[in-house]
Amino acid sequence: MQTEELRLDGNAAGGVLRQVFAEDVTAALATCAGCGTSGLVGSLLEYGHGMGIVLRCPKCDSAVLRIARARGRLHVDLSGVRLLTIPERVSLA
């Protein structure tokens, strides 16, 4: 087995991301600080396990978003994302 078989889509991190952000950001556009590629957060590659979640750029493998839960705190490292473009939810309901 290779660790690539364990990876999922950024979409799989939607639950914890909704704890961090007020909006669903799996449909947001993230620009990788490593290579400048833009892609939907849901299409990043997710390497997640009991220690935390790492969302990597599918182009250059840089860690774009890192999240760990420790003692009732969520640690969120955004240093790998240069820009996050989040669609506003305009609801007329």
Partner: protein, 210 residues
């Protein structure tokens, strides 16, 4: 409700009874060898693989070993228990590798600047920080064999750090070297709230644990 989890009827953890005194607090024994990874498996050909110890002078002084040079060093075959911070422990794992003492002694003899801390660095960008005292004194290895065979890539092959007396994230997979440092600098998981030392017997899982 969010803070008060609902107990699932008939759901039991798979914690098996372990010999008393052998499991650190909060751990359970597993017979599997779970694979935890924060990234894809790096593939560095052995011809271009090397292991480097960089000095605490910002890496101006350094010593490197090629794969063949590392293989030629005296080997040890520790059998140890390992403890993952995600709560599994595995008993009697058999490794083969070179003691970090052997490498550090050679580096210091060659004039590499000493430091009180080390940051292990790896293919794929992973890092983890350790007190120098935790990788010396026969407690740490650069391991390239597991259970009588070459260390498999998903478990960190061709070589990983093995520091079994600390939580297993300190035993960095795909290790390529040690950076000596005058002061502690947090690594990949330590930046995200994990403990700088990580002693399982004191349950040093997260920053702020005693």
């Amino acid at each position: 409700m969010a803070d008060q989890p609902f107990i699932a009827r008939g759901f039991h953890s798979r914690r098996a009874a372990a010999p008393p005194g052998r499991l650190p607090p909060g751990q359970y024994e597993t017979r599997d060898f779970p694979v935890l990874s924060a990234g894809p498996t790096p593939r560095t050909p052995l011809e271009s693989w090397d292991f480097t110890i960089r000095g605490a002078d910002g890496g101006q002084s350094s010593v490197r070993w090629s794969w063949d040079e590392l293989q030629a060093l005296p080997r040890e075959t520790p059998t140890v228990d390992i403890h993952c911070v995600t709560k599994w422990s595995k008993f009697d794992t058999r490794w083969e590798g070179v003691s970090v003492d052997t490498l550090l002694d050679a580096a210091l003899t060659a004039g590499v600047a000493d430091g009180a801390f080390v940051l292990a660095f790896c293919d794929g960008g992973y890092t983890t920080n350790l007190p120098r005292a935790d990788v010396t004194g026969g407690k740490a290895w650069v391991a390239f064999g597991y259970d009588g065979a070459p260390l498999a890539p998903e478990h960190g092959g061709p070589a990983r750090l093995l520091v079994p007396h600390l939580y297993f994230w300190k035993s960095a997979k795909w290790v390529r070297g040690l950076q000596l440092l005058p002061s502690d600098e947090p690594g990949f998981w330590e930046q995200l709230g994990y403990h700088d030392r990580g002693d399982p017997w004191r349950e040093q899982r997260y920053q702020g644990d005693p």
